[in-house]
Amino acid sequence: MKKIALAVGLVGLSAIAFAQKSSTDSIAEYRQMLQDGNPADLFEAKGEGLWTQKRGPKNASLEKCDLGKGPGVFKGVWVELPRYFADTGRVQDLESRLLTCMQELQGFDAQEIAKTPFGRGEQSNVTALATWIAAESKGMKLNLPQDHMEERKMYEVGKRLFFMRGGSHDFACATCHSQDDKRIRLQDLPNITKNPGAGNGFGAWPAYRVSNGQMWGAQLRLNDCYRQQRFPYPIFGSDATIALGVYMGVNGKGGATVAPAIKR
């Protein structure tokens, strides 16, 4: 009899504990359980291999690619992107810069890759490369340069784009991402106008999306934000996407990066 009473007592206790645990706590627990064993590792490994592999019409590797800190440097470059590149005369993010390198060094057609749907052909290689390069800056602090006039102009443009309401639903980026402690459904929404939200948000992509089992680079992340915002399709590597990258990354200055992350 005693034994049964004790067992009942325990069951009762755990039921109360469950009731008191909020959905937010449970979701946090769920996310914690996924941290060990992030399939982004698979893409990271693929990207690392692609960097040294001789490929493309010129049968060359990417080892001489300049991502902002000189040819061949991949450690720490990601926390300083997007930045201005004198050779192209453009502010570029990681993915658009990888296209430049794939074209210049390997002879691929950058425009062709930019037009390729995400996850297909060379696009999936760009994502894998971006995943690996971001991982090589994991834990470092965002430190985007704002010395060049083009970089400063892009920040200003990014800010305007961030607040631009439009589409069928009148949404702007700011509709969801300009307040603290808000969520959409059960997902926390980072406040991207300042830290910690800007660093946490911007510094998490590329990320593995468990909902569809895909690796998403920053370009696809933005692309899908715009899709949900009911805007037209942002062209891969376009100045609008890069300006937003500058706006988010500069707002996130000093935030430690966690990319490649694992996300819902």
Binding site: V8, G12, S23, Y30, S211, R264
Partner: protein
């Protein structure tokens, strides 16, 4: 609080899930009987004889209370019971309940973790099958939520 009747229901549920996998002919009969309505569950369980799956505190299932996404739900199944031959992970409301089956050898701990897809909120079972064909289980309820913008 779990009543005896509910416990029996769970046993029947596990039996039917095992039977549905087609891997355990000894449960096939139990499955048929368990398919009767609630009034006859007690009799059905009796008819299972030694094959009644028993809920056991020596079997552990770990997993989230709420999954942010049903596409990836992390689970761990372990047991301290001796002579375990197999460990199964079953999601009751999936189109086919059996997610994974691990065949144990003396060289490994009876402790496995993997991730499952869940179409909807469901009870999830870890079942340990011993060398003599007995089944012991642990159960966990997992709520699957709809996340994100949903578009």
């Amino acid at each position: 609080m779990q009543t005896r009747r509910e416990t029996l229901k769970h046993s029947a549920a596990v039996a039917s899930l095992l039977a549905a996998t087609g891997l355990f002919p000894q449960y096939a009969q139990a499955f048929d009987k368990a398919a009767f309505d609630a009034k006859t569950i007690n009799e059905a369980i009796k008819a299972m004889g030694g094959a009644v799956p028993v809920e056991s505190k020596d079997v552990t299932i770990t997993g989230p209370d709420i999954a942010e996404n049903g596409a990836v739900v992390p689970f761990g199944a372990s047991t301290s019971l001796p002579n375990v031959k197999r460990v199964l992970l079953l999601v009751e409301k999936n189109p086919s309940a059996l997610v994974a089956m691990f065949n144990v050898s003396p060289e490994v701990d009876v402790n496995f973790a993997t991730r499952a897809k869940m179409g909807q909120s469901s009870d999830v079972y870890a079942v340990a099958i011993t060398n003599d064909g007995k089944a012991f289980f642990a159960k966990k309820e997992v709520k699957v939520t709809l996340g994100g913008c949903g578009g």
